[in-house]
């Protein structure tokens, strides 16, 4: 053995120790600094948005709709409710699918060779899907949900409404002699898009009350009083089809409805939920599983009573992150629902369009008026607050579940 090793220099040893400790301290400092960079970015971002948008944080912003003519009184109420509903649909579709896939991949590992291949293939593709940009999912959603490959026909104005499954009543809308007032004639044959009124018939008003409609022939004296005018139609007047839709109105294809938007977002977040749920299930101690199997439980019973309850906190963390992403996505929603921001309220039926917060912010931020720029900043604050509320609710629920389990 060389003497240098057996007989070490004391001075060298001390220096080396000091050097190594200094290095370690520096590295610690560097780590803290790097960690603070992300905090700093967030603080700068929030401060910038706050200074720009705080003057617009009014009740108008929360209760009113977008307005082109009264910019100062524009609001984002329809977009808040729209975002919540789209995210609700998204969660309803993505959570069961995602968790079930994760259970299959983690708990029901097949033994036969071809099935093992399928298993591996799915696993690989989920990892791939997680890296696909969301705009691509938007285009996928457009073909799959909005048009449904045109299997159910195309939705055209003045023509077929697609396959209406429930909740639709068709009427012919006919103008009366009173300007701006219309009456409705129930439609019997939906293949006839319009009728011509030539003789007195039975119609209904907006509440569905029956009315006897009179016909006025041009050239004869015109009725004078308003009540008569309201139920008199000029001879030869044309009635076009309108549809009264109940809240459960359902039709295929889904067209530009909030259901399409929610389902498309579900595609975006599905890989995230699957991967997070898989991690959570993998973290369940094998001894728990083995104990359950040991007392004779089937795989299903083990999953149902042991693995899933133990994995719920982890799964929920994944779900929270995924929903945070879903509520902030603008690109796929723009592709699927379009850039319509004029909607003045919540969706009225299942096939109704919706405005979401990111799309509204995108629209406002692109306007040249300074008021819209400020409104965009204020809307971002509202979006962050809504997200925080959703997340903290989920975290509280998770905490409760965790406490109950331990």
């Amino acid at each position: 053995m060389p003497t240098a090793l057996t007989n070490q220099d004391a001075q060298y040893l001390t220096n080396n120790a000091i050097r190594r400790k200094r290095m370690s301290r520096w590295f610690y400092g560097l780590c803290v600094a790097i960690a603070f960079v992300s905090v700093l970015i967030l603080v700068v971002l929030l401060a910038a948005i706050w200074t720009q948008g705080q003057s617009r944080l009014t009740t108008d912003l929360l209760t009113r709709a977008h307005s082109e003519l009264e910019i100062e009184r524009s609001g984002m109420w329809p977009s808040i409710i729209g975002s919540l509903i789209v995210c609700f649909v998204c969660a309803l579709a993505a959570l069961p699918l995602g968790i079930a896939t994760a259970v299959f991949l983690e708990e029901f590992k097949p033994t036969s060779k071809p099935l093992r291949f399928v298993h591996g293939f799915i696993q690989l593709n989920i990892a791939n899907l997680a890296g696909v940009p969301s705009i691509v999912y938007g285009l996928l959603g457009l073909t799959v949900f909005v048009y449904m490959f045109n299997i159910f026909g195309q939705i055209k104005v003045n023509e077929s409404p697609g396959w209406e499954i429930m909740g639709a009543e068709h009427y012919y809308q006919v103008m009366t002699l009173q300007p701006g007032h219309v009456v409705f004639v129930p439609q019997e044959d939906s293949s006839v898009p319009e009728i011509e009124i030539t003789e007195p018939t039975i119609g209904v008003d907006n509440e569905g009350k029956q009315l006897e409609l009179a016909v006025w022939e041009p050239g004869t004296p015109r009725p004078k009083d308003e009540a008569t005018k309201r139920r008199t139609i000029e001879k030869g007047a044309i009635g076009g089809t309108i549809t009264r839709r109940s809240w459960y109105y359902f039709r295929l294809p889904l067209d530009k409805s909030f259901l399409s938007g929610g389902l498309t977002l579900a595609l975006v977040i599905l890989p995230i939920i699957i991967i997070a749920s898989q991690e959570a299930l993998r973290a369940v101690s094998p001894s728990l599983r083995e104990a359950s199997m040991g007392i004779g439980a089937t795989t299903w019973q083990t999953v149902r009573h042991v693995c899933l309850p133990a994995a719920v906190p982890g799964i929920m963390t994944g779900a929270i992150l995924a929903m945070g992403r879903a509520i902030g996505e603008a690109a796929p929603i723009l592709v699927v629902l379009g850039a319509n921001v004029m909607k003045s309220g919540a969706p009225e039926h299942l096939m109704d369009n919706a405005v979401t917060m990111p799309v509204l912010i995108f629209n406002w931020a692109g306007r040249q008026q300074i008021e819209f720029q400020e409104l965009a900043a204020a809307a971002i604050i509202v979006l962050l607050v809504v997200l925080l509320i959703l997340n903290s609710t989920a975290i509280i629920i998770r905490q409760k579940v965790q406490k109950a389990h331990t």
């Binding site: 209760t63 009113r64 709709a65 307005s67 082109e68 003519l69 109420w77 409710i81 919540l84 509903i85 609700f88 195309q154 939705i155 055209k156 104005v157 003045n158 023509e159 809308q173 006919v174 103008m175 701006g180 007032h181 219309v182 409705f184 319009e194 008003d205 907006n206 044309i238 009635g239 076009g240 089809t241 309108i242 549809t243 009264r244 009573h305 309850p309 719920v312 379009g338 850039a339 319509n340 921001v341 004029m342 909607k343 003045s344 309220g345 919540a346 369009n353 692109g366 040249q368 008026q369 300074i370 609710t393 629920i397 409760k400 579940v401 109950a404 389990h405």
Partner: protein
Amino acid sequence: MATHLKNMQLMKLTLPVAIAVLCAVGCGKSSTPSDDDATPTSDETVAVSNMAGSIKINGSSTVLPISNAVAEQFSKQYPEVSVSVDGAGTGNGFNDFEVKKTDISDASRPIKPGEKEKCEANGVEFVEVPVAYDGLTIVINPQNDWVDTLTVEQLQKIFVGEDAAKTWKDVDPSWPDENIDIYAPGTGSGTYDYFHEVVVGKSDAELRKDMSLNEDDNILVKGVADNKNAIGFFGVAYYEESKDRLKAAKIVNPKDGEAYLPTGENIASGKYAPFSRPLFIYVSTASLKRAEVQTFVDYYLSNVSELCERVGYVRLPDSIVEKGKSNVENRVAGTHYISPEGETRSGALEDIFVESNLVK
């Protein structure tokens, strides 16, 4: 096992609770906007109509603010008619219009021969209605003291071809020897197309490639406002918003040789040529049979002149609006911008929007 049971109960409880909370939030708040509407904020006291139905509009993002404004006013008087206005671009709007997905197509340029053929093939007939003017403004930095007026020839020198002027001196020897920095809208915008059409004309030349292109007009405004040697162009609405930071160049009208600023008057009278363009809506005649579409288009034409000014555009002469109205009333289908031989017509709106040019 007892803990599991408890666990399951909790899980069974939480989901319905979460749904209930969501619904409660939804229902509780949804009454507020209607309360707000019930107390009239505006001075209008027009009787609310019971008309129902839905109208679908898609097309130019330039026309979108006008259509949005009209739809907004309209919905106060006809609350049960739902009007959905999308702004996917003129070309995309026509794509939808051709296959009967929309009732009305917004357009910042006249229909093209190819689009018209597709409409014919699908049996879509339409009425062409000009609704407002948009003036394209050529802007320079306020510190730029050498440019006051520009001719189309000078703009060709600045904007066209790879050998375009590099310095201001190349355009006019009396101007300083400074680089020209150009800010222009993206190649996908109707504004770019329109500028290209006016400046390049019918030749195959392209606009120069070394411009700063951006779809966001705010960035163009900022670019020109911060750079003494810059020049740019965009819609007059954007210039009006940033008048204090920009200077508009006077454009020499090729017909009378006089230079005009892009003021509302000059655009409306046609003096600000060739950089003012008409905006259109194309209405399907099949949809016009429906009471709600008919009423909406009537309302559109009666109010567009006032409303377009409120969102930054220039009103059309009354005679043209009236002509559009009568075309809608008489269902005069077809376009004025394509000759029977399938050639595109170009020129001032007054000259083209006449009966003799109508081609079905």
